[in-house]
């Protein structure tokens, strides 16, 4: 099966310092791939580079293909229009907009045949958002903001979704909820690249795991096989020590 999203020789540098060097990374249709690693391993740099998006000014090179089509030269909004969507770290939503406006602001381009979640599906997935529809996003809890950010991404009808640490700052029970929701979305044929620092929680839901260290892939493989990999165990320990 040809991948939905594929990166080759993806390199990101900040002011001459190489921050990321990925020879090859692929996401298959209906697959949930977890990207794990310590702080500063390059996890966020990876997903941001796939979308060509950054708060800083990195230089990015390499090939990025979405459904076989090269998108590496496109600006972020054009990649979003083609079906690659990113939920950045910290549940980034528009604080001064209501929940309703946050959702209405995101729509799949007219004429595209991609599957976008309609309002009813969004509320079925995140009933809490329906209750908070007319609240400003600034009044939501961290978990609710995360739901809103994911919901907004789903409204865009993504072919592939990049999720950057959706569990950060959430209570442990909420982490399981959010990750379970992500798994359900993948079971409905969405392809997701999930960045997660919480290795223990991630390994329960992902199909494949990619371990990053200092901007390079240290190990990758099916989640079941990686469970006992000493390097993953080290990452566990790193988490326990932290």
């Amino acid at each position: 099966m040809s991948p939905v999203l594929e990166a080759r020789n993806l390199r990101v540098a900040y002011g001459g310092n190489l921050a990321l060097d990925i020879p090859h990374l692929a996401l298959k249709p209906g697959e949930l791939v977890g990207v794990v690693g310590a702080n500063g391993a390059g996890k966020s740099t990876l997903v941001n580079a796939l979308l060509g998006w950054s708060r800083g000014t990195p230089s990015v090179s390499g090939s990025i293909r979405l459904d076989g089509e090269e998108i590496g030269h496109l600006p972020p909004h054009a990649r979003v229009a083609r079906g690659l969507t990113l939920v950045p770290e910290g549940g980034a939503v528009f604080m001064r907009l209501t929940v309703e406006d946050n959702l209405a602001a995101a729509q799949a381009p007219r004429g595209s045949n991609r599957r976008a979640h309609d309002e009813a599906e969004i509320y079925a997935l995140f009933p809490r958002l329906k209750e908070r529809l007319h609240h400003h996003a600034s009044m939501l809890s961290g978990g609710e903001r995360q739901m809103l950010a994911i919901a907004r991404a789903l409204r865009l009808g993504p072919r592939a979704l990049l999720l950057d640490e959706p569990s950060i700052g959430l209570a442990p029970r909420l982490v399981a909820d959010v990750l379970r929701t992500v798994r359900d979305l993948v079971d409905e044929k969405l392809s997701v690249l999930l960045v997660e620092q919480n290795v223990r929680a991630a390994i329960e839901v992902v199909d494949r795991l990619v371990l990053l260290e200092r901007g390079r892939i240290l190990a990758s493989g099916p989640a079941a096989a990686m469970r006992d990999d000493p390097r993953i165990l080290a990452a566990y320990l790193g988490e326990a020590a932290a």
Partner: protein, 288 residues
């Protein structure tokens, strides 16, 4: 001095101020940008209106359209030159570049239109109405009516439509707006085109009140600054009220104290207000 006449003058002047300032209000509210070439766009648009009527013989309403088109073109050229600075939100450089553009526009105006003062005569200037023993021209009425319609339309567009939502998203977080599929570059171009168009419209309507010279525009940019800050940066309704208030204040001060110190007094009001209420008179929320 007749109080009613001064009030009428103030109301007309206030609507003129509000109209002159609105482009900058949106520029600041949506794109967090400044344009110190604002006054020179006003000057150039006044000349274009005059030239369209006097040299080309176009009817005044068509000349207004020509001036607005010129304003759009100038806005787009400025933004094209500053796009990188805009994305970096490098306000100091943008200030200097727009000041430079202003000087260039003054030079171009001198070359093209010459150094002589010109008077733009419109059919509306000759029509006068009597209101409670005071006089108002149709030109003055046109300023008031157009300003009110323009502000209402802008308010509705920014508050109700998806365009307003897009504007608020870009104002809050342009980077995040990209992730919602918004072409932020296009928004920046549109905002600068609007800024040029709005100040050109104001010039085409207000310039018939005074002689047109290449060195006008400085007072307009100062007034704009006062209106934008008093109104609460980025607030459309606030700008309208601030423009109106400043117009009435200037007319009354000019009529009953001294016209020579009216601008100074306006600045004094600005300083006092900023000391008492640093966010301006309106609660500053982008594009409301």
């Amino acid at each position: 001095m007749n109080l009613v006449q001064q009030l009428i003058n103030g109301i007309v002047l206030g609507h003129a101020y509000a109209l002159i300032a609105i482009g900058w209000t949106v520029l600041l509210g949506v794109a967090r940008l400044v344009n110190f070439g604002h006054g020179q766009i006003y000057m150039l648009a006044a000349f274009v209106t005059w030239w369209s009527v006097a040299a080309l013989g176009l009817p005044y309403p068509v000349a207004i359209g020509v001036a607005v088109a010129a304003g759009v073109v100038i806005g787009l050229i400025m933004q094209a030159a500053m796009l990188r600075l805009t994305f970096a939100q490098d306000l100091v450089s943008i200030m200097i570049v727009t000041l430079g553009f202003g000087h260039m526009m003054r030079g171009v105006a001198g070359l093209v239109f010459g150094g002589n003062p010109q008077v733009l005569e419109t059919p509306l200037s000759w029509v006068e109405f009597e209101v409670a023993g005071s006089w108002v021209t149709a030109q003055d009425l046109a300023i008031v009516v157009v300003a009110i319609l323009f502000f209402l339309l802008l308010y509705l567009v920014l508050e109700r439509g998806s365009l307003g939502r897009t504007a608020r998203m870009v104002a809050e977080d342009p980077k995040l707006a990209q992730l919602a599929g918004i072409d932020v570059r296009r928004v920046y171009f549109a905002v600068f085109a609007f800024e040029g168009a709005a100040v050109a419209l104001a010039a085409a309507l207000v310039a018939p009140r005074t002689p047109i010279l290449t060195n006008i525009g400085f007072e307009e940019v100062i007034i704009t600054f006062v209106v934008v800050v008093l109104g609460g940066i980025g607030s459309v309704a606030g700008s309208y009220l601030a423009g109106l208030g400043l117009g009435i204040f200037t007319a009354l001060f000019g009529g009953f104290v001294s016209p020579a110190y009216a601008t100074t007094a306006a600045f004094l009001v600005l300083i006092v207000v900023l000391v008492l209420r640093p966010s301006g008179l309106a609660m500053g929320r982008a594009s409301r």
